[in-house]
């Protein structure tokens, strides 16, 4: 039992890594990773939703009819994320402003639907929780790493948190002036993700 739990968690992070292995949820990934902080914020918010949606769907799995599961998943996830968005706007406005448009974006994160369909629907609650947690951790890690790479090489700073922390000029001020802007733009996202996928899967094979 315990080993199963641990196994599920680790699988969520590595073997079933949403971005690098399963290649789902790529849209928000490319859009959001222009800075480490953005990546981290989106990752944490998404993790929260992964866990909760997995929990709900797993606990309702016995009564959700097979051929209606997709619409039902979508209703649950969309209502859910919307409620979280309202709650953030009302009770944690500064955080809501920082996360901004990323919160509603979670609804279209294929990862949630992917895990719901691929795991939570067929597994007990405690394992689904672990899967959601693992998927979230894996997702967040990748987002953070991608964000770091794109921010450092693309803008010359790291951990810029708008309004709070100007970031560390890791490669010096002169690089910051004329960094590789391409990395902040869409092509940069594709390049970075491709590299990471290649490296990660190479490492996994070994």
């Amino acid at each position: 039992m315990e080993r199963e739990i641990k196994r599920t968690l680790i699988d969520g992070i590595i073997k079933n890594n949403l971005i690098l292995v399963l290649a789902i949820g790529l849209c928000p990934t490319l859009a959001v990773t222009t800075s480490a902080y953005n990546g981290l914020g989106m990752g944490l918010a998404a993790t929260f939703v992964f866990i909760l949606s997995n929990l709900i769907i797993s606990s309702l799995r016995k009564i959700i009819p097979g051929n209606l599961r997709i619409p039902i998943f979508i209703i649950i996830i969309a209502s859910f994320v919307t409620m979280i968005d309202y709650a953030l706007k009302a009770y944690l406005p500064p955080l809501s402003t920082q996360l901004g448009v990323f919160v509603p974006l979670i609804v279209v994160n294929c990862g949630i639907l992917g895990r719901a369909e691929g795991f939570a629907y067929k597994n007990p609650v405690h394992l689904s929780f672990m899967d959601g947690l693992g998927a979230g951790i894996g997702f967040t890690l990748v987002l953070f790493i991608m964000g770091t790479i794109r921010e450092i090489l693309g803008q010359g700073i790291w951990l810029n948190i708008p309004g709070i922390f100007p970031g560390i000029k890791v490669l010096g001020s002169s690089f910051a002036e004329s960094s590789i802007i391409l990395l902040i733009l869409p092509p940069g996202g594709f390049l970075t993700i491709a590299l990471l996928m290649g490296l990660f899967n190479y490492w996994r094979k070994k």
Partner: protein, 313 residues
């Protein structure tokens, strides 16, 4: 059969439950959210006007406020809008009584430009450039040489949209400023003329007569029953190019902006436009405006005669 019923009921239940939960959460949070929005707006208004001892009066919801300091009208705040790179850019601008920008703010919550590039227009580094500028200076340096704004590298579209939104708002609401009186009207009209002909304006008689290339511009004042008419007449060779009228309310000493006076102003300006001097007596007017139109006609004739004298000199 019962399987279908079961399916439909589950779908129905999930739908209803979600809808109920969602509307519950919405009802709970909506008042909190709108209160927060109001406070954030008030905070923005104070941020763009600096002086904390003022009060704001909303003139147009979410776009125009007049600023009062102990009952004295000292400036205004407007919010204009322009399409940016991926959404609307809507800066809040505080303007003092002379038309100078005090501060600009672009709330992040309402901005959806490219993070790391276009979003930078919301940052102090970019917005500080607008401090103390007047409308004519609010251009990107690369768009006009009088421009004072450096665009953000690789985010020209966002930078330009923000800059243009601010400038257009300034031009639109300039007339409402406390000190926009007829002196400013004259100055602005003359500047527009000089700009459009790309040559300098020469002052011949202070506050009365100017020359721009072949055009003579004279300023006259006509007092009517309830208003004062300031007329800028542009004469070129033997023709009135156009007249520009500023109708002043003698009690407030500011421009009369009622619908009727706007219509009157436009009717008069249109009639006199491009009229040859020899045909000026042929112009016909409706009975309502006959009175003032006749006075204007006389005034223009006098000006024309004088203008011939000036030319011969």
């Amino acid at each position: 059969m019962s399987q279908k019923i079961r399916e439909v009921s589950v779908l129905f239940l999930v739908g209803i439950t979600s809808a109920l939960l969602l509307s519950f959460v919405y009802k709970q949070t909506a008042p909190v959210i709108s209160k927060y929005k109001e406070e954030a707006l008030k905070k923005s208004l104070s941020e763009v006007f600096i002086d904390s001892s003022v009060r704001f009066e909303e003139i147009k919801p979410d776009s125009l406020w007049k600023v009062f300091k102990e009952e004295k009208y000292v400036g205004l705040i407007f919010r204009s809008e322009k399409k940016g790179y991926s959404g609307k850019i809507s800066p809040i601008v505080g303007v003092d009584s002379t038309g100078k920008i005090i501060r600009v703010k672009i709330p992040k919550e309402d901005l959806s430009e490219t993070p790391g590039l276009g979003m930078k227009i919301a940052e102090v580094v970019f917005l500080d450039q607008f401090k103390n500028l007047i409308a004519d200076e609010v251009f990107l340096k690369k768009d006009k040489k009088e421009g004072e704004i450096d665009a953000i590298t690789s985010a020209t579209i966002s930078s330009r949209a923000a800059t243009d939104a601010i400038r257009e708002g300034l031009n639109k609401y300039k007339k409402l400023l406390p000190r926009y009186a007829f002196k400013d009207f004259v100055k602005t009209s003359l500047e527009n003329l000089a700009q459009s002909s790309d040559s300098a304006l020469e002052e011949i008689t202070p506050d009365k007569l100017w020359k721009n290339l072949n055009t003579y511009i004279s300023l006259s004042k006509i007092e009517d029953s309830s208003f004062v008419f300031h007329i800028l007449t542009q004469i070129e060779n033997k023709r009135i190019n156009k007249i520009t009228i500023f109708i002043e309310n003698p009690e407030t000493e500011k421009e009369e902006t009622s619908k009727e006076s706007k219509a009157l102003k436009q009717a008069l300006e249109k009639r006199f436009e491009k009229v040859l001097m020899k045909n000026i007596h042929k112009l016909k007017f409706t009975s309502e405006i006959e009175g003032i139109a006749e006075k204007i006609r006389k005034e223009i004739r006098t000006t024309y005669v004088k203008h011939i004298e000036w030319r011969e000199k």
